[in-house]
Structures are given as C-alpha cells and as structure tokens.
C-alpha cells in the first residue's frame, strides 16, 4: 500500500474528513490512523497531530514518533485543570492534514465549542484535511440499540449527519476474541480497569453484536457515498424506494427520544425525508403545564439537532391535525410512540397512511 488517497484528492476549499470506525476501545483505530499519518509524512505531506489520546498504549505511542504534535491548551474549570485540543493553534499552524483522536469527545465546560466534532468542522472549514477516530456506539441513532445490547447509555454522541458528512469511512476490524486477548494482556487498559471492562462492556456477546452493527454501518456508508456520486454510477442501487416521507409525532412521552432516533434512522436508510411535528393549542404551547412543555421543547430541540424539519402545529384536535399535515406534505409514513394519548383515534384517522408504532427498546 504505497500511494495514499489523500494526495489524490483534488484541491478544494473545505478540508476532507476521514473517519476510522471501530466498535470498542482497543480495536486499533488510532493505530491505523497513525499508520496512515506516517505514510503521508513519508510522501512529504505537511501533517500534524491536533489531538492524540495515548491511553498508555506503547505500540500506539511508538507510531507517533517523528510526527509533530500541536500542544493542547489548558482550561480551568471548578478549580481543576483540564487539557483540550487547541483548535486556534491548529488553525494558526495550518497543516495540510491534521489528526484528531476521539471524534465524539465532549469538551470541558468553558471551552469555545461544546463538542470535539464541532472543532473538527471549524478545522475543515479552514481547508485542513482531518483524520479522526470514532466508535460506532457513539452514533446518535444507535443509542437505544447500543443500550439494548450492552446496558450502557452512551452519553457522548455524534449526530449521524456529521458522521455521514465524512468523505471517507474506514472500518478498522478486529475479532472480539483478539480484542479480549488484548484486554487480558493489559494492552488496552491498566489491570483493574481491564478486569472491570471484561466483566461488563467487553463480553464476547456484546462485542460481537457491536461489531456487526459497525460492519453494517460501514457498508451503509459506502452505499451512501455511492449515491452521492449518482452521475458516476455504473450499476444502479438496487430496489430504491421512491419518495419516502416520514412524519414523527413528538410529545412529552419520554419514549419520544427513541422515536426520533428510530424514525431518522429508517428515513436515512430508505433515503427518505424526515419531518417532525408536535400539536398544541397554540404555537407557544402556553396552554401546556410547564413541565410537559419543557419535555416537548427538549424533544423538538433534539429532532432539530438531527437535522429533522420540526414544527409546532396549533390545532384543537391532534388526530385531525396530523392527518391534515400529512396530506399537505405528501407524508407516506407516520411514526408514533406506543403509549401516546389518543393513539387509536390517530390510527383510525390516518387510515390512508402507513403508521409505524415504535416500540420502546427493552432490556
């Protein structure tokens, strides 16, 4: 593997994004990224490490040898000192390619941007190509599924559209057995942490399931990227489903977050469009108890973060309002939470639509 794809990418304004995708800590994402960096350096590309998390792993640390590292900045928060990536220093240094480990990281409060992926967008906008690492369980739309498999609610998530914006996604594969061995040998974590990990997250069943999810995600993203280059296509994508338009009905029901993730995921896979509405007596939702309104607003914000077109409809009758909105916007599928108020009447009213009642994922 001599030539690297980065030097083949034509010059453009926005820097490209390459994501090294794995399914667990220790799967070798950072190692792979550093290998790529070494190859780039060898062919004379101006490359710098913007952020690297060594985790005390000797083999990985050895791979950084000879690469320039841009110093981190320190941030004081609640009497403690934290280190974060220094985005401004990266911009000032302006390398051709920048390495940013741990794409899903949440910055310490007081940082300029809340999430590392937001820093990455800024770096890309300055025309710098970025290589980064991500575990599949950090994808927002997989949050419920990952919880179902592992029992762990992943808090640091990346909206799917950010990951989908990657120009290239490389699956870094390793078998669960090899990964468990790495843990047992103490390559990944210190002994105490390794023991805890092996008993909880790193069971072979969990790892096998996460690995399959990652492989499917990578396959999906390859297909997606093919669709982006429609004009270059030799063989058509099989079985396209025409004009899928999905409407999510948002309420204060806590299951709504799962509904939004599921609906958006289905819409993405079917290459459809996704809308969300909530129905209230008035657009400001003043008629609602404050606690309920707060929940609905949180769900609206969440949907918008996932780039779903979201509206509040003022209408006295929920069932009628949903059907009307669906007709006006050529909606083909309505998504509801199972325990939503007036469910039967909504289903009865929207008889011409396909209606998906989204189940809450159980453990």
């Amino acid at each position: 593997m001599s030539a690297s794809f980065h030097i083949l990418t034509p010059a453009k304004n926005k820097g490209s994004l390459t994501v090294y995708l794995g399914y667990a800590a220790g799967s070798g994402k950072t190692y792979r990224m550093l290998e790529e960096a070494q190859k780039l350096k060898l062919v004379g590309i101006d490359i710098a490490i913007g952020y690297f998390e060594p985790h005390g792993r000797k083999d990985t640390i050895a791979k950084t040898e000879g690469l320039e590292t841009i110093p981190r900045k320190t941030i004081h928060y609640k009497g403690a000192v934290f280190e974060e990536m220094d985005t401004e220093a990266i911009l000032a240094r302006n390398p051709t390619v920048c390495l940013v480990d741990e794409f899903a990281h949440t910055n310490v409060p007081g940082s300029t941007r809340a999430k590392r992926w937001e820093d990455v967008v800024v770096i890309q906008e300055a025309g710098i190509d970025v290589l980064t690492t991500l575990n599949v369980q950090h994808l927002e739309s997989l949050n419920d599924q990952v919880w179902q498999v592992t029992g762990i609610r992943v808090r640091e998530t990346v909206p799917d559209w950010v990951a989908r914006s990657a120009d290239e996604l490389v699956m870094v594969d390793v078998t669960p057995r090899a990964l468990v061995h790495r843990l047992e040998r103490g390559v990944v974590y210190a002994p105490e942490k390794a023991k805890h990990a092996l008993e909880n997250f790193f069971t072979e069943a969990n790892l096998t399931a996460l690995r399959e999810i990652a492989l499917r995600q990578a396959a999906h993203q390859v297909e997606d990227r093919r669709e982006d280059h429609v004009e270059d296509r030799v063989i058509p994508i099989r079985n396209p489903i025409r004009d899928v338009r999905i409407l999510l009905y948002l309420t204060a029901d806590p299951a709504t977050a799962g509904l939004i993730r599921r609906g958006k995921r289905v819409s993405d896979y079917l290459h459809g469009e996704c809308f969300a509405v909530t129905v209230a007596k008035d657009v400001e939702m003043t008629g609602m108890p404050a606690s309920e309104r707060e929940k609905v607003e949180r769900h609206i914000g969440f949907a918008r973060n996932l780039q779903i077109d979201t509206k509040v409809i003022a209408a006295p009758d929920v069932a009628k309002a949903l059907t009307e909105f669906a007709n006006q916007n050529r909606i083909t599928q309505l998504f509801l939470c199972r325990d939503v108020r007036d469910r039967d009447r909504i289903i009865e009213n929207a008889k011409d639509l396909e209606i998906t009642v989204v189940a809450e994922r159980q453990r």
Partner: protein
C-alpha cells in the same frame, strides 16, 4: 424450574467451556482475512499477526506465500520459517507440525499429484491435525459471491472457495481501505464505483458471518430477545388485507436494510374462491421475492404471530389495518393487542385496500 437454574454459569463462562472442549478435541482454529479486492493489504495484515504470535512465543510457519508477500516478509526484521517452496506442501507441514500455519492465496488449486485438488481442502486437513491456520482471501474468490462480482466487474476468477468454508471459520477479519488506495492513482470514477460496490459486498458478507456467530451464541444461551443487529421484517398477511403491497414493501425495506424478510399467514377457514385465489397469488409473490414463508394453523392468530416474532427475533411487524370501524368492549381490537404485546418490536400498519 428446578434447582439447576440456581447456579447456572454466565453465558461467557459457557462459551469459554465450549471453546475449551473444542481445543481439547484437537482442532486448530481458522482465521480468515477477507479483502474486497487485490491490494487492500490482506497479506500484510496476516503477516503482522503472524509476527505478533511469533513474538508471543507461538511456533509459526508459512505454508504458502505469494512472491509479493515474500518481498514484504524479507523487508521486515526477523523472519518466519517457510515450509518447502512456499506453495503449501501439506505432507511437509504435517511432518513439521507447527502451532500456527500461514496460508496465502487460499483459492488456488494445487499442482497435480499433490495434496487435494484445492488449497482450502488442504487447510481442512491442517485444522483437523490441530494446526491453527491464518489465511487471506479476496471476495472474488468466494464461490457464492462470484456472480455478483462478475456483474460488477465483468470478470470472474477461475478459482473459488465455498462460502460455507468462510461461514464456518472461527474468526473472520475484514481488511478495509478506501478504494482510492487500491487504484494507485488511476482514478476513473467507474473504477472507484466498482470498488465501492465490491467493498459494500465484502462488508455485508462479514456482517452476515458475524450475525451467524451472534445467533449461534444467543441460541446456545437461550437469549430470545432481539438485539436488532440485523433488521428482520415480518409481514403478516390475511386474505382480506392489502397483502401484495405489504409484501412488496417488506421486500424493499428488507433490501434497503440488508435484512431478512419473513411472511406469515395464519390459516383462515371457509374462504371464497376469489379470496383463496388472491391469497395464493400473494403467497407465490412472497416466495418469488425470497421471503421465508410460514403458514401457521392456529386458533389465536395474534398469539401465533407474537410467538413467531419472538422466536425469530423480529424487529418490525407489518400488519394490515383492521377493517372493523369500532370495537366493542367485549371484543378488543386485535391490532391493538398486537401493538400492546409486541415488546421491543415496531409495528407498521398498512392501509386497507378499500381505503385507497
């Protein structure tokens, strides 16, 4: 149940025991490095692993290696013993009896008069003799994938390995790189598109192998809950529902998710000839579209569907809208019962044919 439930070992403990039994039975482990095209770096990955194992004290030899791999090997520090001339001399390897044997170019045929006709058949012998095998394989050499590969590239490789051989491997690793790295500067969009399609096929094949592994694990440990790693769609048809539309939609959805499609019909008695005919046509359609079709005779259709969905780890149920407009208190809506009882499964309700 009895007291035996009390001290049941954990699933992972059971798996470890099963593995221990396997190695006691003296079989070697098979690990395959799968690539979607030549030059993705399979052999390098395989050599890396061989070196790592050697460093950890395992007795590693090379059974077969291609000239390019040999160059790569020589460029490294350290060395690994090559048995014979590096074209898989089965007898010599069995005599040498290493712990691990590396076999490159798995799909090749053996020269006449030596070993079996095919290299992969020799590998089976090595495994039987307790030798762990590391091997590398390209998608174009997987027999069941060759038709698809030919449709994409217009070419068909002469040699192949049955897919079943891969599915039965103890471990499979996908070696993934962006297509731009494989083309070495030649960058015609059509070539990238071809490689992307092969790449997608290889990733999905790996996902399927892993799914099998997971299913086996869950079966072994009696885990019935679906983890939704693969979308599994169950279309429930009745003589009066818009079955054709539901089956077609199920098929397209299953394809988009690269999932599996099931169709269930719970037998209804005393159908008119007209209904019977349309039902038969829809069952034929389901077969034609490759659905796994089940016809169930059960007095409690919803109960039967729920049981089927549970045991088949269904993630989405497609059902027709109920015809009756109102349900009285004593006769609850069957659809409602399905929705309430389908724990962890999405239910998609399709419009009744007469409403469109």
């Amino acid at each position: 149940m009895g007291a035996s439930d009390y001290c049941r070992p954990s699933p992972d403990e059971l798996l470890r025991r099963a593995e221990a039994e396997e190695s006691q039975a003296g079989r070697g482990r098979l690990k395959i490095f799968l690539g979607y095209a030549p030059r993705v770096g399979k052999s390098v990955r395989m050599l890396d692993e061989a070196f790592r194992r050697q460093k950890r004290g395992q007795d590693v030899v090379i059974g077969s290696i291609q000239p390019r791999g040999l160059e790569e090997l020589r460029s490294r520090l350290g060395n690994i013993e090559v048995v014979g001339d590096g074209t898989l001399d089965l007898a010599a390897i069995l005599q040498r009896k290493p712990h691990v044997c590396l076999v490159d170019e798995l799909a090749l045929s053996n020269p006449p008069g030596r070993g079996h006709a095919r290299r992969w058949q020799d590998v089976l012998v090595l495994l039987e003799h307790g030798i762990t095998v590391l091997t590398a394989l390209n998608l174009q050499h997987v027999a069941e994938q060759q038709e698809a590969v030919e449709r994409i590239t217009g070419m068909r490789a002469a040699n192949s390995v049955p897919e079943d051989f891969i599915r039965r491997a103890d471990e499979i690793v996908i070696v993934d790189v962006p297509p731009e790295e494989v083309t070495l500067g030649r960058r015609q969009p059509s070539q990238i598109e071809e490689l992307s399609q092969l790449r997608q096929l290889a990733l999905l094949l790996a996902a399927e192998v892993v799914e099998l592994e997971l299913q086996r694990y869950m079966d072994l440990h009696g885990i019935q809950q679906s983890w939704g790693t693969q979308e599994r769609i169950l279309v429930c048809i009745t003589p009066r529902s818009n079955a054709r539309r539901m089956i077609e939609s199920g098929s397209r959805n299953a394809a988009s998710f690269h999932g599996q499609l099931f169709v269930v019909y719970v037998i209804q008695p005393d159908l008119t000839r007209e209904l019977q005919e349309s039902l038969e046509a829809n069952l034929d359609l389901a077969r034609k579209l490759g659905a796994e079709l089940h016809i169930i005779d059960c007095g409690d259709p919803i109960g039967a569907i729920l049981e089927f969905a549970r045991t088949h780890r269904i993630t989405q149920i497609f059902a027709g809208h109920s015809q009756r407009r109102r349900w009285s208190l004593w006769n609850s809506n069957p659809l409602d019962r399905l929705i309430q009882a389908a724990e962890g499964i999405d239910v998609r309700i399709f419009p009744h044919p007469h409403t469109r």
